[in-house]
């Protein structure tokens, strides 16, 4: 069912929450790009930092902008749980690529001999 209109206090509070979240997201993005380009971190630290920052951004966008924070716990779980598989998939395929890099010569030799 559609939401009933907010009272004036609720309305002001909700609008302020949006502007506050926008400020947080903007600062987080600027920091993220500045660190990624400015500091020359070793690759694994860069990957971890950027991944964690992006999860923070996703939490704010999904929780506040998409109102997922207002839904029931069961629904939040139903939406968020599949991401576990996606994260696993991304990591698994990254490792797969790395391993292929090391074995490329051997694999191609075997493949061509078939």
């Amino acid at each position: 069912m559609a939401h009933a209109p907010y009272t004036p206090e609720e309305y002001k509070k909700n609008v302020n929450k949006i502007w506050k979240t926008t400020a947080i997201l903007s600062i987080v993005t600027i920091v993220e790009v500045a660190v990624a380009v400015g500091l020359h971190l070793p690759y694994h630290y860069l990957a971890a930092f950027v991944s964690i920052v992006s999860i923070i951004k996703a939490v704010y966008i999904m929780g506040v902008f998409m109102h997922l924070g207002h839904e029931t716990k069961g629904f939040q779980f139903a939406v968020l749980f599949p991401f576990v598989f996606l994260i696993w998939g991304f990591v698994a395929f990254s490792l797969e690529g790395s391993s292929y890099k090391g074995m490329r010569e051997a694999i191609n030799m075997i493949w061509m001999n078939l």
């Binding site: 790009v33 990254s94 790395s98």
Partner: protein
């Protein structure tokens, strides 16, 4: 049983017994978005395996994407005295800000919809559409600039070991192919989203939601638009920063 209008009866049926007490329309939109997430994730997984299989030659994105392809903006920044040939990832950060800004204006439109404020909804949908269209324009300039430099789906002149114009050797094709495929697929979603927002604005102005009694459609299109924004955050992360 007290008398209900047909519309109210439908609303009651929509609510009663629905999973998680959410309206069916919203549920459908959420589950569609999850399925679309899997499609984008599949692209990113393919990208991940190619990217890590080619770490020797994979170009550094900060070096490839370091200009401002929009001529007007380029001239403006040069006029202030900035060196527009070495601005790593500045343009793509501008694009990210455009999309986040359009998400913010979309949320305000949804909030005005909850207040049943027709003019407020239209007022906030207009910047959403404009920012979305600006993002598409930026993506167009980025694409044409890269194609000018010789990057196509099958040819990539950029490489960690030196660009084609310096070494005469092309870089890994996967870089170019995934760039155009992923940003193109995402751009298609943005285009559809801009179209949806234009439709939404028109039907709002025609008074459709005052007749129906609620502005839930604004919320559903809003969910789609935030999804497009979120996907861009992750494409930006995976492609440009990792």
């Amino acid at each position: 049983m007290s008398t209900h209008t047909e519309h109210e009866l439908r609303e009651i049926a929509n609510q009663e017994g629905s999973p998680f007490n959410a309206s069916y329309g919203k549920l459908l939109m959420w589950f569609f978005l999850i399925s679309d997430t899997f499609t984008f994730a599949a692209f990113l997984m393919g990208y991940a395996s190619s990217r890590f299989a080619n770490t020797d030659t994979w170009p550094v994105p900060a070096d490839v994407f370091d200009t401002i392809p929009v001529p007007a903006l380029d001239s403006l920044l040069s006029a202030i005295g900035l060196n527009t040939h070495h601005m790593p990832l500045v343009f793509v950060t501008i694009m990210t800000s455009l999309l986040i800004a359009s998400s913010v204006t979309m949320v305000r439109a949804v909030q005005e919809g909850i207040q049943m404020n027709k003019d407020g909804v239209v007022k906030w949908l207009i910047p959403t559409i404009i920012f979305g269209a600006m993002f598409l324009g930026c993506q167009y300039y980025e694409w044409t600039h890269l194609m000018h430099e010789g990057m196509t789906i099958t040819a990539n002149p950029f490489s960690n070991l030196g660009d084609f114009k310096d070494t005469g050797v092309m870089g890994p094709t996967a870089f170019a192919m995934f760039f155009f495929a992923i940003t193109g697929f995402h751009g298609l979603h943005v285009l559809v989203g801009v179209g949806l927002n234009i439709w939404l604005m028109i039907v709002t102005m025609n008074g459709r939601f005052e007749k129906v009694g609620h502005y839930e459609m604004v919320e559903k299109v809003g969910l789609y638009w935030h999804f497009v924004d979120l996907v861009w955050v992750y494409v930006f992360l995976s492609y440009y920063l990792l």
